[in-house]
């Protein structure tokens, strides 16, 4: 691992600990875990070229959260379980179609269109009956309770272990399609684990991160990391650290300047993205298509 990333990771953890002396520890833990989980996932999604699918997943998360809110009005465990059941099923169904040869962009387009439509219908109804629509769209890590924190910690651990153990398979199988179609069943299983992880992250962490910022956290850390390191393991670690540090820094900015924590984290990632491109080879709009 590049020494700079180790320093960034340690600094972020120390900053989170210091922040927790003054504010509830659940804020820093919630933001940090979500950032690390999304960061790690971002690296593998980029390596697989599944950006369109990644971009469509928050739409599924919003739709499933909206539908669950209509059925279970209280945002507790029952809501989370129902939301996960709906959202993860849809993402895994789309993933299965892709792995069996269906065009990935077509699958993502269908998934985004279907879930966006369902989300609008559900949220319209939800707002009419006084439900919390803004919370789902903007997200609020500061409202994380102890129960959700436990679920979040376990989810993050599961996501990072799954990606660290099976990342090389997920990336390789994605590049060499015939391995997935013809190889042992395990090939398909590893791809499905990736979609499961994507579903868990986008649906399970929606209330913390918010629908809007999920896009940023899924899309940018992987690109930023790939500008700095080579190798899938280093890419995964660097991307997770970028997600973690952006989330903690965003939280620090938020508590000091009274802005949205998710919004501040997003702004930091956008700045890092621009800086990484400029450092690597000049302004992106002055270059050709490649990074």
């Amino acid at each position: 691992m590049h020494k700079g990333f180790t320093v960034i990771a340690l600094s972020s953890i120390i900053a989170a600990a210091l922040l927790s002396l003054r504010y509830p520890a659940s804020w820093a833990i919630g933001m940090g875990l979500a950032g690390a989980a999304y960061g790690a996932l971002s690296s593998i999604l980029h390596a697989r070229g599944l950006l369109f699918v990644a971009g469509a997943s928050p739409h599924v998360a919003l739709a499933s959260a909206g539908i669950s809110s209509l059925i279970v009005m209280d945002a507790g465990t029952a809501w989370l379980v129902l939301s996960l059941a709906i959202g993860v099923s849809i993402i895994m169904a789309a993933g299965y179609m892709i792995e069996r040869g269906f065009n990935a962009d077509d699958a993502a387009a269908f998934m985004a269109s279907l879930s966006s439509t369902a989300a609008v219908l559900a949220l319209y109804r939800l707002s009419a009956i006084g439900g919390d629509v803004a919370g789902l769209i903007i997200g609020d890590p500061l409202l994380v309770g102890v129960g959700e924190l436990v679920v979040l910690s376990l989810s993050t651990l599961a996501i990072i272990i799954a990606l660290a153990v099976g990342g090389w398979r997920m990336i390789y199988i994605g590049m060499m399609r015939e391995e997935s179609l013809l190889g042992p069943t395990k090939s398909l299983a590893w791809s499905m684990i990736l979609y499961l992880v994507l579903g868990l992250a986008t649906v399970g962490m929606l209330r913390i991160v918010g629908y809007v910022l999920e896009h940023v956290l899924l899309l940018l850390p992987g690109i930023i990391a790939s500008q700095a390191v080579s190798g899938w393991r280093r890419g995964l670690a660097a991307s997770a650290i970028i997600g973690l540090s952006a989330s903690i820094t965003g939280l620090i900015v938020a508590v000091n300047f009274d802005v949205s924590p998710s919004g501040a984290s997003g702004a930091i990632l956008v700045l890092l993205f621009l800086m990484a491109h400029v450092i690597r080879g000049g302004a992106p709009w002055r270059r050709g298509g490649s990074a």
Binding site: S43, H46, A47, R48, G49, W168, R169, I171, Y172, I173, M175, M176, E178, E179, L181, L182, G183, P184, S187, G222, I223, A225, S226, V229, S230, G231, W232, R234, G235, S290, A291
Partner: protein, 242 residues
């Protein structure tokens, strides 16, 4: 003496919707050695390779692979290395050349590779066999030139030492020097294995080729290069330019 490997096709018909890609294709080829499949664009060459590996299911007929000491194989993919015609790694894929070839070996060999030293040796042998300098081992796939990427794909396909190697137009987009390097690698590998190459340039591998098969949805001719290549213009018309 390497075991004889055979591919037998009997009345294979493949269609994509209404469009017939292969029409009652029947042949038998054997190796070790090189078999070249020649034909115009849209002749069904890629479909033929995909049918051999099992990625495309025929409407009618069957293809089977037999390896001397293993007999008829239920899942021929276990002994087949396949290099597709097109391969473009995602731009932000951080996987290195070494990791890519290592992943192929780990996935194909599984528990047959007992330790990481053995795995490392297999990967390094494949990389060396394909003349990939060590300075490229830690390069990302998306940073490679077309010629180097072809060599890496070949290394990935031969790392588990398949008995059958299928190469789909391996000289596409390559300059003459890069084509020569790939051709030499193919000839070397064909000494112990059956190598099936689809190509528009049969002369590159002419000397080492055992069989040339002319395909245009149907098999137009099969035979030794000296017998078939002089007839290519008659068989393929203006799509054949020597």
């Amino acid at each position: 003496m390497p075991p004889e490997t055979r591919i037998l096709a009997e009345g294979v018909t493949v269609a994509y919707g209404e469009k017939i890609a292969l029409d009652s294709v029947t042949f038998e080829v054997s190796g070790p050695g090189i078999v070249q499949v020649v034909g115009p664009n849209g002749a069904g060459k890629t479909t033929l390779l995909k049918t051999i590996i099992g990625a495309v299911k025929p409407l009618k007929g069957s293809i089977r692979v037999e390896v001397g000491d293993l007999g008829r194989l239920d899942n021929p993919y276990e002994v087949i290395g396949y290099v597709p015609q097109y391969f473009s790694p995602p731009q932000y894929n951080p996987m290195t050349v070494y990791e890519f070839v290592e992943a192929s070996a780990r996935l194909r060999l599984g528990r047959k590779v007992s330790n990481s030293v053995m795995l490392g040796e297999l990967v390094e042998d494949a990389l060396k066999d394909c003349r990939i300098p060590p300075s490229f081992y830690q390069s990302r796939l998306s940073e490679l030139s077309g010629g180097m990427l072809r060599r890496v794909l070949l290394a990935r396909a031969i790392v588990f030492k398949p008995r059958v190697l299928l190469l789909d137009e391996p000289f596409t987009f390559l300059d003459s020097e890069a084509s020569r390097i790939i051709a030499d690698l193919i000839v070397e590998y064909s000494r112990d294995s059956l190598v099936v190459v689809t190509t528009h340039e049969p002369l590159l591998l002419y000397e080492a080729t055992r069989t040339v098969m002319v395909l245009n949805r149907r098999i137009l001719a099969v035979g030794e290069p000296d017998e078939i290549v002089p007839k290519l213009y008659d068989l393929m018309g203006s799509s054949w330019v020597a």
